[in-house]
Symmetry: C2
Subunit: 620 residues, 2 copies
Amino acid sequence: MTVLGPAAPRQLPYVAPLPLSAVRFDPASLLGSWQELNAAATIPHCLDNIRRTGVLENFSRLTEADPPGKFEGFWFADSDLYKTIEAIGWEMGRSGTGQWAEVLAEVADLLERVQEPDGYLNSNIQGTEGKERFGHLEQSHELYCAGHLLQAAVALHRGGGDTRILAIARRVADLIVNALGDELPLIDGHPEVETALVELYRETGDESYLRAAELQVERRGHQTFTGGFGPPYYQDHLPVREAVEATGHSVRQLYLAAGVTDLYLENGDESLLKAMEQLWDSAFGSKMYLTGGHGSRHRDEAYGDAYELPPDRAYAETCASIAALQWCWRMLLATGQARYAEEMERSLFNAIAASMASSGTAFFYSNPLQLRTGHDGSSEDAPSERLPWYDCACCPPNLARLLASLHGYAATSDASGLQLHLLSAGTFTADALTAVVESGYPWDGDVLVTVSGQGELAIRVPAWATGATLTVTGATVLVEPEPGAYLRVSCEDGATVRLSLPLTPRLIRADERVDAVRGCVAIARGPLVYCIEQADLPDGVLVEQLRLAASVPITEERVPDDLTPVRLRLSAIARPLETDLYAAYQPDLPAGTPITVTAIPYHAWANRGPGAMRVWLPLS
Amino acid sequence: MTVLGPAAPRQLPYVAPLPLSAVRFDPASLLGSWQELNAAATIPHCLDNIRRTGVLENFSRLTEADPPGKFEGFWFADSDLYKTIEAIGWEMGRSGTGQWAEVLAEVADLLERVQEPDGYLNSNIQGTEGKERFGHLEQSHELYCAGHLLQAAVALHRGGGDTRILAIARRVADLIVNALGDELPLIDGHPEVETALVELYRETGDESYLRAAELQVERRGHQTFTGGFGPPYYQDHLPVREAVEATGHSVRQLYLAAGVTDLYLENGDESLLKAMEQLWDSAFGSKMYLTGGHGSRHRDEAYGDAYELPPDRAYAETCASIAALQWCWRMLLATGQARYAEEMERSLFNAIAASMASSGTAFFYSNPLQLRTGHDGSSEDAPSERLPWYDCACCPPNLARLLASLHGYAATSDASGLQLHLLSAGTFTADALTAVVESGYPWDGDVLVTVSGQGELAIRVPAWATGATLTVTGATVLVEPEPGAYLRVSCEDGATVRLSLPLTPRLIRADERVDAVRGCVAIARGPLVYCIEQADLPDGVLVEQLRLAASVPITEERVPDDLTPVRLRLSAIARPLETDLYAAYQPDLPAGTPITVTAIPYHAWANRGPGAMRVWLPLS
């Protein structure tokens, strides 16, 4: 049975996604292990917390003639449920599990009973006295919640064969289509429904949903929203073809961009793609953290100015990195360019991976690149450790739906053959050929591909992989491996392709306009950014005292079967702490004491209790 | 006639403020010129805007049986009025002006008519259906607004001989005293009333106000406020004797600290002073900007972690620097220590002065130390230029009340004689002696004091003034000038004291834990921090391209009668802009092109249109 994955374009401008059913990550691979953890721990944890925080009760109370109690949680809490059942849909498609049939039936029952005859469905608006439907779209998140229902319905239909929730979602979508026919500038303060409507069009073939998505995109940017946050917060300051600087609330910006790109993938309007390419350059070229985090401001959860990228107050919301990955995937489908896959990998292995504890049941919402000694972690927006849940719980179920569908983002096909974008052990099948990948990536750099069938195989060579080498048998090399591009080989049945990526630890610097990390370097190995945690330092030495010499060798320490199987060891200097906040400039500072320090992958930080951490390390 | 100034302690633990009537700044001095500008432009501008934004109408509508319209503005808008009439009170004491008699009578009429029989007075609570007095003190600002009324009444009584507004304020204070007798943990989310109650006690001698202030202070820190911001935001997380790290909303923190210190100044409770000294070390030793700005986070307008001091996203609210100055003044009265006066001068000449345009009618609310090329200045919290007014208009009238009473913060006396803390041309009279100061400070470093009468004269030598020299006639030097301490001379009638402060431009560095300015220096001359603005750079060179050599000489350029009479000239390098946000580390970067640049005093920035600016400049 063919199971389509997230974003399944009908028009396919450049490369086509593989069906989920044509991809399987090796469960022992890092990406595969995250999917297993997601199924075993994160999805059940989300379901527990959705029930605990009253999200289901928000619906069930409305099935009574005189609803008891009141709506609980944030006004967009419906979306927590929708994202969780979307995760279940993808997970059913991945593993064939039927373990959540009962809860899905419960949800379908509730939604059917609460949905109004004309299709309206929103437990906050319906369950709160005085609230009027579509009366305050600037903040109400009604289309946002509807969009997540649509996406859940698409996932459940693709992955689980569901038709009940799809029918509910179509009634919601039909109502939106009708409402959008009005003269009202009916758009939502939080973009999300755009990509959902396109996906529902793809799943049903009903073109009214595509037209509704078009209207959402075209109506945006005309300063409909004049409230306290100001139009840029909502990306409502300029029409999408002119709004080419990443601006405002970062998750909204990135969901909108994914929706616009989805629209391009169906209507082929080149002016949309051009704007998205410019916007992408702004976001990924001047406003992205080294870890693939987006959004440098806690205030308004917003993008800052270009190069305003403080590691300590990085907001870098988990949802923003997920949205960025979803957008990059669509840009990749539209263009086939390696840079989009490169950034998917960056965010996946760093910002996104860091958001989840090794248990799969605790999460970061913001993903800073530095935690200071003495950090006040009492606020939910900047805790010192991952929390089991959040009052605003958008991130955990977003992570669940991404991980359950992650194999859908790994590879594509076109007329000539198969393209591998995310390197992982697993099996990837296009029409004409199947690639079985064996690799310990990202811990090891050797990627061995065995091909059955025949055709062209393209493998992305990461931009950092200078010196990558290739050996093939039964295949002809069309394009040699070059960093940041695809190697291409023409394969006979039984061909083997061995790509060896050099994983030598390396130092990275930032454009000097990133003032916040001036004079610092970061350590990386392959796609993984590393960090230094207080837990690995000797007593009496603070993370803040460390200075690196750029010329110092970095050695690897293997710790098999550990959360951090490859650690890095290097020499550093521990400088004495200073006493004056400001002092007369003097060129020579005390040298400090040599020590040896251990760096661990950033994504594994904060799994050993709270403590200081740095990604960017000052040079001595 | 003796006119007392702001903060007139009855117990006087260490040094006593001079009455306002015993001090006059030379109007040609920098501080004196700001006072003249304030009287001529800022106070009238505040009055115009208070009327324009409906602050007076909020009261006048309540004089009608069926109030028309609705309350306008933020719920604490009453305080805009109170701070403005406080400024008028001090200005009347300073200059003897009677020009605002009519508006004061109008205000007194309104307040008398709106005040309820039991003394309650708050145009938001009284003028908004469904709001209950003292029902939501976490956010309502009722005691905050009351505090500003009390402070206005004290200023109008001291400076203008007013008794009507004092009577209104006493009725408000009496109601608070009675309400505070309840079992309720009645404190305000925004500290302010503490210092106001102490000042009203000082002005009236009514000890019930002092006890009410004591209750406010003692009740704080018991986690009364559990709302969305969390207790630290309100400094309600720990009792004041334990809350020794500067935390939460910075203006609230600093007003509270001023109030606690005021309480110490009256009740002599050493445990309060000890806590304030620890808190002061936290705030001024690890959380203060070089300009004397406080509060590094836009989110929650809050102090960040220690050393979290980004120049670009500095919030550094004008009100916070004003509150910091008011707190330092009280610490100075309590201890006589130079460091408190040093920090008053820092904030006054830099953060506070920068908040006002040269016109006196436009203002910064936040005071960043860096504005990037391409900065999005569309948000009121981070505009590229000073704005004429703000929706949340706390800062402009706060500045007006500070400037009108500024001479009250300049000098003190004790049994032995006179102490000069803020260096400025002017006349300063203690019981036994008068000092006439002639100086072009801070543009020039010579301070010539001519003494009539006899006694001890102490002059603060700023901490940066290494190499200051002293010549006296008719006086005996008791303590030679040392940076960061008071020189002391015993004067005969007619003595002259000439202190020469070296104003050689100097480079400043920050503690390396201030990551955000690593590898940078700031330029200062005397008490003034300098900056480089885009307006002074040649075409085609961006502020972001500049690199300094620490060894380069800095020369002075005199521009008499200009907003910036002393500019600094120095050589720099303009580095080419980079193209990659992140790249492999390489030790050698392109050298760049030598250019000569001009630095101007930070406080004068953004008077030539919007443009990039930096205080902290990278070394090459």
